[in-house]
């Protein structure tokens, strides 16, 4: 077993407090840095895609996991980011300026949706965001002069300060770097004053308000941060897709994002990344096993969506805390080795409580 023994105030502020943490995360980072040379090209591309989805999933986690505002339409913000970035690049802006502008624009759209949307909560908010995503998809399809309609628009290659980043390896490192920077930013934001206010709003709005937290303001702020991060991911995704169409940002993508945060475990950034990796790998996994299935089944596109449903149902039923919850349980098992009992995480008997008047 491990006991905290701090010898200075700085000890409790460190991100990686223990040797074992430093070892694990250091090794992971080293592996990821070496991956482009170790893995075949196909998998490097897949990993890049997973990083982008992880960024998007982090964005949604701030809103759904930390602030408790369900959004079933986050693909809309990815779409705004992607289209804005592609359009700015098309106007001749440099990569860095364009991606920052796209992020800001996406944040503004988040503000525009968040300001009215905080009037509703729970199921109603889920429906508003869902409808908003469908609206954005239609707008992108119809606004032909800017977005190219349903034919989509091409995306220029990324380059930073004259350095070409369109190669497989360089784009891989760009996405990995962005993921790490955003992760660090969000970790610090979430353990600071703002993040704690978010959690307070999630757990009880009345309690948060009576502690002097500005509930409405923090809800809108969560919307803006979440939309901006998702927009950033959308801009990277545009480069990954090379040619963006409204169908690329359909309802399914929104639901995939919600799947990622739910399966990862609501309320943890680690969960967002784990969930993104698990869900992001499903399509690749299915294309791997397709040759072994019968011809009849493998031709249909339904297999992928069936697996999504199966994984989601499995997690909601058997591991509501998600991958992060399982990680914590495994960790607790090893840390308290001979003393661990199953009952530590047992759930009590429950009855339905009405949320109608929340």
């Amino acid at each position: 077993m491990r006991f905290d023994y701090d010898t200075s105030y700085q000890d409790s502020k460190r991100l990686l407090r223990y040797r074992s943490d430093q070892l694990i995360y250091g090794l992971t980072l080293a592996l990821l840095l070496a991956a482009p040379w170790l893995l075949p090209k196909y998998y490097v591309g897949e990993l890049t895609y997973l990083y982008i989805m992880a960024i998007a999933s982090l964005g949604l986690m701030v809103l759904s996991g930390y602030t408790g505002q369900v959004s079933l339409g986050h693909a809309a913000f990815l779409a705004v980011g992607a289209y804005a970035h592609a359009w700015f690049l098309g106007q001749g802006l440099p990569f860095a300026a364009s991606i920052l502008l796209a992020t800001a624009l996406s944040g503004l759209v988040g503000l525009a949706l968040g300001l009215p949307a905080i009037r509703v909560s729970g199921l109603y908010l889920a429906m508003v965001t869902l409808a908003f995503a469908i609206l954005i998809e239609h707008v992108l399809g119809r606004w032909k002069s800017v977005t190219g309609g349903f034919n989509g628009m091409p995306v220029a290659d990324p380059s930073l300060f004259g350095l070409d980043l369109s190669g497989l390896k360089s784009f891989y490192f760009l996405c990995l770097g962005c993921l790490i920077v955003i992760l660090l930013l969000l970790i610090n934001l979430m353990r600071g004053r703002t993040g704690r206010a978010f959690v307070g709003v999630r757990d009880s709005e009345a309690a948060a308000a009576s502690l002097g937290i500005w509930v409405a303001g923090h809800k809108v702020l969560a919307f803006v941060i979440s939309a901006a991060v998702s927009g950033f991911a959308g801009a990277l995704l545009a480069h990954h897709m090379r040619h963006i169409t409204p169908e690329g940002f359909s309802l399914l993508l929104s639901l995939e994002l919600v799947l990622m945060v739910t399966i990862g475990g609501l309320g943890s950034l680690r969960g967002a990344i784990l969930g993104a990796f698990l869900i992001g790998m499903v399509p690749a996994f299915i294309s791997q096993i397709k040759p072994y299935l019968g011809d009849r089944i493998s031709k249909q596109f339904g297999l992928e969506i069936f697996f999504f449903g199966l994984i989601l149902a499995f997690f909601v039923l058997f591991e509501p805390k998600g991958l992060n919850g399982r990680w914590l349980k495994v960790k607790a098992f090893f840390e308290t080795f001979p003393l661990y009992r199953k009952d530590v995480f047992r759930r009590g008997k429950t009855y339905m409580k009405s949320e109608r008047y929340r």
Partner: protein
Amino acid sequence: MPPEIAAVLQLVLNGMATGAIYALVALGLVITYKATEVLSFAHGDVLMASAFVAWGLIVGLGLSFWLAAVLTMVFAAVLGWQIDARVMRRIVGQPQFSGVMLTIAIAFMLRGLVSMLFGPESRSYPTPWTQQTTQIGALVVSDLHLVILAAALALTAMIYLFLRYSALGISIQAASQNQLAAYLSGIRVKQLTSLVWALAGAVAGICGLLLAPIALVDISLWIVVLKALSALVLGGFGSIPGAIVGGLLLGLIEQFAGVYLPDGSKDVAAYVVLIATLILWPRGLLGEAHGRRV
């Protein structure tokens, strides 16, 4: 009758006919929501699966429409019952979000299964009313639309009376207000909840059966559930008459938007209505007041 008024009346009739479908789907959603507070996102996929089953029975096996209709309803009801008894029952008492996620998971699995079993092609089947029209004054309306409208109104009346006056209906209301108290006064809550899901399933089965001849039997049939959500919000969430009023109204809005507003607004009208209603007027037309308890 002057032609302008006739044209408007024709639009009204068409709108009511589409609206009746939305109303019927919304009705299925609202009964599960009222009884269990779970908004079933799988409702549209139960509907879609029923349409495919009906196609299999009518075209595949060559059964008569009425026999196939009864069998489809039984299929949808059993499906609804099983969804509750095997899956939804396990997450009772967890936050509402789990219910949303679990029904989405069921929806995905149903959609995947149907597309693996039947393939992606669209198809259609004949009904006793296909291709027939009725002349009302200067207006022409297809019989299928009239049947849908009649079915929607009759079903709503039946379900409303059932919940309001029968002993079973009153126990469902009791269980929806406080499960533990209902359980302690001898109501068999688990069975009752499954019964409600079966009822909602049967309603979805009827919807699928009637919608498929209009819109083709296709995987994308489930999208009607999104329109139904909009109808539900417009009519007032959790109100059975509200579901019907909202559905009919939404059908009208869509028809008129398609004619008088710019191209493409018909497709998005339902979603604009949903967002606008929720933000400006969350109670809807016939909704209950939302209180806030600390």
